[in-house]
Amino acid sequence: MRRTTSTGRRTTALVGALAAAAALLTACTPEERTPGESHEPVPGTLRVLASSELADMTPVWQRVEKDTGIRIRPTYMGTLDAVALLAGGRAKGRYDAVWLSSNDYLRLRPEAARQIVSETPVMSSPVAIGVKPDTVRKLGWKPEDVTWPDIHEAVADGRLTYGMTDPSRSNSGFSTLVSVASGLSGAQSALTDADVRKATPKLKEFFEGQQLTSGSSGWLAEAYDRRGDIDALLNYESVLQGRKDLTVIRPRDGVVTADYPLSSLASTSKEVRDDVRRFTDALRTPAVQRLITERTLRRPVVASVPPATGLDPGRRRELPFPGSRSVADGLLDAYDNELRRPSRTVYVLDTSGSMEGGRLDRLKTALTALTSDFRDREEVTLMPFGSDVKSVRTHVVRPGDPETGLDGIREDTRALSASGDTAIYTSLEKAYEHLGAAERDTFTSIVLMTDGENTEGASPEEFEDFHDGLTGAQRDVPVFPILFGDSDRAELEHIADLTGGRLFDARQGSLDGAFEEIRGYQ
């Protein structure tokens, strides 16, 4: 029964993601690409749809540009979003090549797989866990012998906490989820729905140890450093190896490896595909493979080039990746709705007089669209403000009956009306007070959407004092401000820095897109 409900919701969420991706295409956020660039084809330039984490390849691309004369114009996007875009047929005419961390998920969607040809793996990096050396010592671990059940046991005993990226938005998170599920289910071959069900109790215990979630590896690392009290990070080996303060462990019983295939789009001309092939060949020359492994700490795919110093040459079993979409999506669904800690979010929404008209309409549309993306067990508080907080309404998406909570959110959204001044800091303080002594069993955060500067109530200095006075878990609650309308970037950036959040820009892109992107951090 509930399986039906959540699967249905996942479909809607995917449709929502598609809509958001479409919105991003028409009006892109800075995360997606630098403003001012268009999608128009330029001869000798390859427009590459690339996984976000490939941003670290810039020096390599520059080298290959020099070697081949082919220019690269990357557009970075989460792998799963990129697959949704391909599946929707929206890459055609906009991109020449696709370069994702892995095509495993793509292949589960025939309508996306049909869009690409000539996929060639360029480098590889397995999923790993980076643990503080001190924790490794306390646990008595020998890094080369650690298995997934060992990690599970340490978490279940309360001796290990960690952060990882959101599997729905980041390929590193998704590969981690598959590794953990395979490792803990005891599955001897490719995961099935039955394996996932069998492993659910253990997976639940495992994900109780997850203290941080993030839509990107970059912010995950920042949040980890800020918190300081988390023992480990789960991510690709290359990301973890880049930090000097972690012992990188590839569990002995197997991992999922990203092999970064560069693929042509089936819709491109022969000339473009020739360029893609030349570019690919250049990436696989020994000199460039050496550059790749030394600069990015990924593993080379050419036998004559050894992995960079520090990368353990020992072998690991490759865990089979699920062979069907139902298993992969079922796992994501279970993670969102059952396994992970639920999220608890206060939406502090500017409904001051200046929001009147189009802006308020856009806010309502964006919030309504967002309801298809809320997960089971999630607690959502709407806190509209003007000269002061106007109301505080909390809804919970209950697993047995998600629609009641979601209807409540939609109803309260419809009722929003614009009036009054802009009391940003007073409202934020009330959001913290509402959350109270936040507990560790939820991912707690505040989203601040405002279209103007603070004109009423507490001052920035007063808010800083207030924030200084917070203690414990409450102090770790991040604020994710959204830049919208006439809001002040410096002011909002300061709030993000102060609270350990991250700024999202809805001025370049859309409000829907910003809300959607923040989901990865909640």
Binding site: K270, R315, P320
Partner: protein, 357 residues
Amino acid sequence: MRRIAGIVLAVLLLGGVVAAVVAGREEQDTSTATKTVRGVIGSEKAEFFADPEVVKALAAKGYTVKTETSGSWAMEGLDLKGYDFAFPSSQAPAEELAAKYRARKPLPRPFYSPLVVVAHRGAAEVLRQNGLAELKGSSGTLDMGAYLKAAEDDRTWQQLKGAAKYGELTGTLYIATTDPAASNSGALYLAAASYVADGGRVASDTAAVERTAPLMRKLIQVQGAQQPSSDAAFRDFVSGAGNPLVLVYESQVAALLAQGQEVGDLVVLYPDTTANSDHTVVPLTKEGRALGELLSEDPALRKLAVRHGFRPQGGGTEFAAATTGRTTYLKQQLTGVRQAPVPTSEVLHEMTRRARG
């Protein structure tokens, strides 16, 4: 079914026109300047065509060849308009393409390569200890009957003697292959496995497919997501990722050895019953046909093909001579390796569909 009917209809409608165009092109005078010939090829031949010496040898004969890779079975789904040839890795998809594009027979088959299983030393040693393989140096023979029995029984590495020493040897024992629906080596694997499983009979009808379907399904389902091409699978193996046992073409290993590349503790296992990939050119234009014939006959190109690990048709000595120094990995003569006949493409498609379903 509807799709096939559609293709047939399209062929019928366009046949006259295409034939006219091809005939027209065949009559064109051949100029002495370099001709650019475009083709879609199986990924395992990409390095051959990219080799500067091959490029030079082709240019000496007046050809510039531009290629793109595709899974052999996936070529059927591509629009090959504007190409001069397709070069899948096996006869069955070549026949399909030849029928679809009305290519004149016989189709040139410049070279072939048997399917082999690559393993690291530890895995090969465990197979030997458990009676699944015989080893001599870094080459050996895989007992397909014993392997299929183990697969049928869901045997895991942990249950095999001597596996505990190697951390990476856990989970179900299986040979990782490419997706049989998209790529040739995966489909040929099913051809060979079904032949052995059915007591040395090649599947010729639905009843035969039926008999081996549960086992074929098992061989594919345990793998989860599969690589779309043998090149990717071999790359992963070489880079140390991927499965303990991977099905590749002998040519991929031979090419790596010919380059003098470090292969570590690689062991090449020849299944006692295997299938050959017959690299077959499907000419779509006159130039495509000429290129196919050139690849088959030109001594310099045949020599280069050997250097890329392929066995030229009727060229046992050429291959043996070139691989003298590498017999520890390669069997120069394929004695004791039985060739499983490959079912017709219709039967093979049905087998694949049931195995993946």
